[in-house]
Symmetry: C2
Subunit: 408 residues, 2 copies
Amino acid sequence: MEMSVDIRNKFRNTAKMTALSYDNWQIAKARGLVDLFVDTDRVGHSLPGTETKFVNMSSYSYLGLNRHAAIVQGSIDALLDEAITGLAIAPTRMRPALARSAEQGLSNLFDATCVIGLSCSVMTSALLPLVSSGHLVDGLPRVTVFDRHAHFCMEMVKPICADEAPVLVAPHNDIDFLEDICKREDRVAYVADGAYSLGGTTILRDLLYLQDKYGLFLWFDDSHSLSVLGANGEGFVRSQLGEINPLTVISASLNKGFGCSGGVAMLHKGFDTSFFNTTNGGPLTWSQSLTTASLGSIVASIGVHRDGELSELQQNLQRNITVFDEAYPTGLAGGELPIRMVTTGNAETAMDISQRLLKRGFYCAPVYFPITPRGKEGLRVMVRADHRPEDIVAFAEALTEEVGKDVF
Amino acid sequence: MEMSVDIRNKFRNTAKMTALSYDNWQIAKARGLVDLFVDTDRVGHSLPGTETKFVNMSSYSYLGLNRHAAIVQGSIDALLDEAITGLAIAPTRMRPALARSAEQGLSNLFDATCVIGLSCSVMTSALLPLVSSGHLVDGLPRVTVFDRHAHFCMEMVKPICADEAPVLVAPHNDIDFLEDICKREDRVAYVADGAYSLGGTTILRDLLYLQDKYGLFLWFDDSHSLSVLGANGEGFVRSQLGEINPLTVISASLNKGFGCSGGVAMLHKGFDTSFFNTTNGGPLTWSQSLTTASLGSIVASIGVHRDGELSELQQNLQRNITVFDEAYPTGLAGGELPIRMVTTGNAETAMDISQRLLKRGFYCAPVYFPITPRGKEGLRVMVRADHRPEDIVAFAEALTEEVGKDVF
C-alpha cells in the first residue's frame, strides 16, 4: 500500500478505544448495569423472570411523551389508516403523505425549514459532510471545528467531513481557540451540542458574536433540549434566535423530549430542501425512512406541542427538577435542563453505587470513559416530567446514603 | 492548515457529485418522478388531490410483507401491550424484552448470531469500520477492498474505514484483481453486495475459494435477497453457506423483502455480541434503536417466515417474475431475483419513458448516475409477490409500446 500507517487513526482508533474502555463495559455488564432487557409498566421497568423492579432515573424522555396515550395512539391510528408498515421504496422517490404532514408540522412548530430523517445520527451523517463541503451555503469548503465534547454521532462523521475539508477539534466551549481559527481561516464551521448530554450548554452568545464578526457557520445538536425548552418546545438554541439564518443549522432527536423516533434538522426558511432529494442527501435518500408508525406518532406529538399540554408538562418537569435539586444539590442545580451529574471520579465506584441504587429500586446509569473524560466518571441523573415527586425524593435519599453529598 | 488540499476528496467529492448528478434529480423532480408524496391502497398509490393512481413497479417489498395484515398487526399489538413508543434510553443500557425476542428469533431463523439495528445503513456504519480495524476477528487491521458497485451505505463509510486500514476499490466482481491483492497483502477484507440493487449477484463461489486459500474476510450486504431466497428466507449468500464462519458477515435490511424496518447482521455462532455493547458498537449503542412498533412487526414477520406462508409467497413471487420475463424479456430474464433493468442509456430518455408509464398507471423508477454508471441509465423494475399478474402483463405491454423490446 502506498498509504503509510502513520496517517491513519487520525480521528478513530478502535484498538486504543478498546484498550481504554472495554473492561468498564464488561464490568458494568457483569454487574447487571448495561445490556438489560426489560418489561415496562406505568411507573418503571422490571427484569423479566425476576423480582427486580425499578424506576428509570436515566431516561431522556424528559416530558414522558414516549408513554403519552395520544402519541402511542398516533402510531396505532396511522397503522390502521395506512395498513402498511412503510412504503418500501427509497424516500427520494416517494414517501407517504403523512411524512409531508410531519415535516410541515415541524416546520410550523419550530418556525424553520424542517427536514426529517430516520434518526438524529442519520440526519447528522447525511448533512454534516455538506457543512464541510460548504453545500449548505455556497458549495465552498469550510474548515470544520468540532467541540471536543460534541456527541458521538458527530464525532463518528469526522473522517467523512475530513474528506471534504480540514477538520479540527476545539477544547470544550473555548471561544478564544475558535476565534483564533476564525482570524486565520476565511471559512469556518463549528460543530457543537446545544445542550450537552452531560449537562451544561454551548456558549451561544459568544458564538453568535463570532458568526456576526467572521461569518462562522454554526451546527448545533440540540437533542437534549428539544420539547424541554421554548414556548413550542423548540429547544435551547432555537428559542434564543429570531429567524434561523443561512449560517445556522440545528439538528435534534425526536426520540428524547419529543417522545417519538427520528431526527429533525432546522434550516433557514429560504433553504431549498430539494437539494437533499438528490444524491447529496446521502442516507436521507437511499436508506430507510421513518415508518408509518413513527410518522403517526410525530404528527400526534406535534398536536401535543401545539395545545396547552406542552406548557403543563414543561412546568411539571421544572417542578421535578426543583424537587431533585433541593433534595440532592449538584453542580448543575438551578439549571432548567434536566440532566444532573453526580461525579464519583472512578468507574468502579460509579458502578458500585449504581448497583446499590438498582437494588433499592432505581436505575441510574454509570458513565465513564469515553462518555466522560477520565477522572470525571459518575452517575447521570435525568429528571422527567412523569417522575412522581415522591420517587425523586426517595431516589435523592438513596443517593445521599450511597454517595454522600455531591462534592461539586 | 498543515493538511494539504490534494489528499482530500479521496472517497467523496460533493462538488463533483453535484456537478455530475444534480441536474438529473431536478429534471426528475420537475417531471413528477421523485419526491412524491402518496396515499396507499391495496393495489397501489395515488397522489393526494389529483386523479393520478398507479401501481408501484419499483418497490422492494418483494413478498408484499409490508402490507401483510399480521405484520402490521404485530406493530399495533406491541404498541397496545407496551403502551410506549420506545424506551428512550441508549440501547447499550437497556432494551425492551421484545428486542431480545426479535434478535433471538432472527438468530434461530437464519441459523446465525444475529444483531439488529435501526437500519441496515446504521448497522453498516457501526460494523464496517470494525472489519477494517480487524475487531470482528482478532483486532488486527485488514486492507479493505470495496466492490465498485457496493451499495451507497457501504460507500459512505469508506473514509471511516480508511482511518483504520488502507481502503481500495475493486472493479465489479473482478476476482483476479482481488486475488492479486490477497497475494500481496497478508490480511484483506472484501466488501460487496450479495444481490446487487441493479440486478445480478456477487461471485460467491470464487470468493469462498479466496477465503479458503488466503483467509479473505467477506462482508456481504444481502438486502435485496433476504426473505426472497432460501427455505427460511435467509437470502442468496446465507442459503449457500453451511455454518457462517468467523471470516464472514452478512448484513441485510429488514425493510425490503422482510416487510418491516431495521437491519440485521448475521455473524458466526461463536461471536460474542457483548463486544458491540461497548463504545465499539458505535451507533448501535448510543443512537436510537428500533421502536416498539418496529420490534412488534419483526417478531410477527419471523412468524410468517416460520410457517408455510413464506414458501407460498416465494412461489407467488417466482410466478410473477416468470410472467414478467415472458411478457418482457430483459438481460436478467430467468434469474430468481426480482430486479430487472431496462437500459435506455440516457437519463432523459429513461425519464421520458418513466413519465409516460406513470400516465399509464405504473410507477417505474428511472435510474441514472450515480445509481448506474453513465451510459447505463434506464428503468429499474422490481417484481413483487403481491403484484396482480394482470398488472404485470399490462405493465409489460406498456413497456413494449414505450420502449420497444429491450436490447440487452
